[in-house]
């Protein structure tokens, strides 16, 4: 879109705000359609997610997942790639966490296990992104399609592994044994009792996620590799002409992206569930797309967007208690609307704003 140049604050603040407002407005209409009062719903949602310590704890717990998956989508975005395989990469990333925890939890404390869990999850997530990346880079198969396919393959693979290999002996449940203390990250409630997070599962991986955000910022805007990734994403032809290797850039960007998605499993598996189980990703990978879009693929924006989506998840859970008519599916609707307005329709308000903000040209003045 080259239609008119706008001041930065319009591009980075006003337009995202308008898009978000439109999404919430339509969500309000859906609430009215169900026969509830949208203003009450908003009040319950905000109170449920920010009104008390435990609510905040849950909000931050969900936000941790979204930071990882949002960063994953964003890194690929910068290389001009659309990784919608975060779902599968996070799922397989769970294997890396589980292997580290199952191997070490009985012998060492959690802070020894954690680095192995981080490495394991990132390696497994990256490995799951590798084939789509390599096929895109060398054979031109579209990464969107292959990552979708790999989501489904991951789902079948994990069900098979959990049912046939990883299941603990004598159990019908398709899940591994529960980790001992060496495979459990401390809850923030135990570390900082004064915040009163209560039973919220928010744990140390929140700090891993924040560290990852800083590292992604450094990588994308302060390193040679990041420059190559951004150049390739902005104009692949020019980047190749400038001597940037397309195969290397695509594969590395996707490996980092898959690794970040895989690290989401640390929060769920080592931080909260303490065992590997089926379907622990439940859409967090896809929400990463919305988070990255809203956060404009910048780590600061992503952290803010992740907190917003964390609020939606936690507040939405609260909402379904208070207003039984509004089930948790409402969150999925709101996510869909945010993706629609902040992503697919992001240019909808732009022409009108350009018209509003561009001073009338001298030619128009003469005519008038």
């Amino acid at each position: 879109m080259s239609a008119g140049r706008l001041p930065r604050w319009v591009d980075y603040v006003l337009i995202p705000f308008l898009n978000l407002a439109a999404a919430f407005l339509v969500s309000g209409l859906v609430v009215i359609l169900i026969g509830e009062n949208p203003l009450d719903a908003v009040r319950i949602l905000i109170w449920g997610s920010l009104g008390y310590g435990e609510g905040i704890g849950f909000t931050l717990f969900y936000a941790t997942n979204f930071i990882f998956t949002g960063l994953a989508v964003a890194v690929a975005f910068h290389a001009g790639l659309f990784n919608i395989g975060g779902e599968g990469q996070a799922y397989v990333g769970g294997l890396g966490v589980a292997f580290a925890c199952l191997a070490l939890d009985r012998y060492v404390p959690w802070y020894v296990t954690l680095p192995f869990a981080i490495l394991g999850s990132a390696a497994m997530g990256a490995a799951w992104a590798f084939i789509p990346a390599w096929l895109q880079a060398t054979r031109g198969s579209h990464v969107v399609i292959t990552t979708i396919m790999f989501n489904f393959i991951a789902s079948s693979l994990m069900v098979y592994l959990l049912n046939n290999m990883l299941k603990k002996a004598g159990s019908m449940q398709p899940e591994t044994r529960t980790f001992e203390d060496g495979g459990r990250l401390p809850f923030l409630n135990d570390l900082f009792p004064s915040f009163g997070f209560g039973y919220a599962p928010v744990n140390l991986s929140l700090f891993v996620a924040l560290a990852a955000s800083v590292l992604v910022w450094l990588l994308i805007w302060r390193t040679k590799l990041g420059f190559e990734i951004r150049s390739f994403g902005a104009n692949a032809t020019a980047a190749v002409y400038a001597g940037i290797s397309p195969v290397k850039t695509i594969v590395i960007a996707m490996l980092i992206s898959g690794g970040l998605a895989g690290m989401m499993a640390i929060n769920e598996i080592m931080g909260s569930q303490h065992r590997l189980l089926i379907d622990f990703v439940t859409g967090y990978g896809f929400v990463g797309i919305a988070v990255a879009l809203m956060g404009r693929a910048h780590p600061v924006g992503i952290v803010l967007a992740a907190i917003l989506f964390g609020m939606l998840y936690q507040g939405g859970a609260e909402l379904s208690f208070e207003m039984p008519n509004i089930t948790r599916d409402m969150i999925i609707v709101i996510q869909g609307l945010v993706i629609l307005f902040a992503g697919a329709l992001e240019h909808m308000f732009r022409p009108a704003i350009v018209r509003l903000l561009t001073p009338s040209r001298p030619l128009d003045a003469k005519e008038a």
């Binding site: 169900i34 198969s141 292959t146 396919m149 089930t327 609707v333 609307l337």
Partner: protein, 322 residues
Amino acid sequence: MFETLILILDSTVRLSTPLLLACLAGLYSERSGIVDIGLEGKMLGAAFAAGAVAYITANAWIGLLAGIAVSVGLGLLHGFASITNRGNQIVSGVAINFLAAGLTALLGQTWFRQGGRTPPLPEGGRFREIVWPFAEEIREVPVIGPIYSELLSAHNILVYIAFLAVPITWWVLFRTRFGLRLRAVGENPAAVDTAGISVTWLRYRAVIACGILCGVAGSYLSIAQSSGFIREMTAGKGFIALAALIFAKWKPANAMFACLLFGFLDATAIRLQGQAIPGIGEIPVQFFQALPYILTVILLAGFIGKAIPPKAAGVPYLKERS
């Protein structure tokens, strides 16, 4: 042995019907240059609308119309985002999948209070099997009997519509002026524009055609194959259809064979569940579930021929820079 084969083929036909309809739907859209990963969402929306309306009116045809209407509506939303606003088509498709998954479950629970499912359909609300003439009489004839009375006869009308849609789609796309233009707009929209034909209107028509077929596909799930809508009813069928479309290299007849193949894999998996194959042993059911996706990836990698998408697929058309 022969009987088993007929049974497997019979369920292959049933299982591949929704895939085929959705695959042909995607064919119209992608041939015009609009990538559609929202097939899944459109099918789900249509399945819900058809289930709900067929329950209320006790009329399968009105249910089908409702399913088509919802699917076309979602298709137009995709068109508005990706044609009019030149937004990212993948993002728009993802949004439609989310919207359909959320709204069907939410409205289903609000309206019917059965955990997101619609109540079982009343008499007349479901498309019934059509038994061909003399099906009962010649059932006992060897070979021809079972083929006629099991495989060809005794499906509901949407199955026949799906398979009829294959030659019709081929004819529309390759033998009509509309089809020529549709394919051209997916390869080189600027050339079509230069010829004085509206790219926007052509693509909107493609998106509507896609919506209609997706609507039939979704309705098939809730008011023909089963009696009523259940949550997440499509269960990834829209994505298998997308895989089949790539597998078929964006051609109608190939699409039918790809869908039959994927339907056959599904039918075989159901049949083989828990059974050991001599010499190989028991094949895990998850392997069959993943096979369509694995095959598509192998195809995409260029190891079974090469799948080349329409050239302008996924690229918004900008008539003039302003």
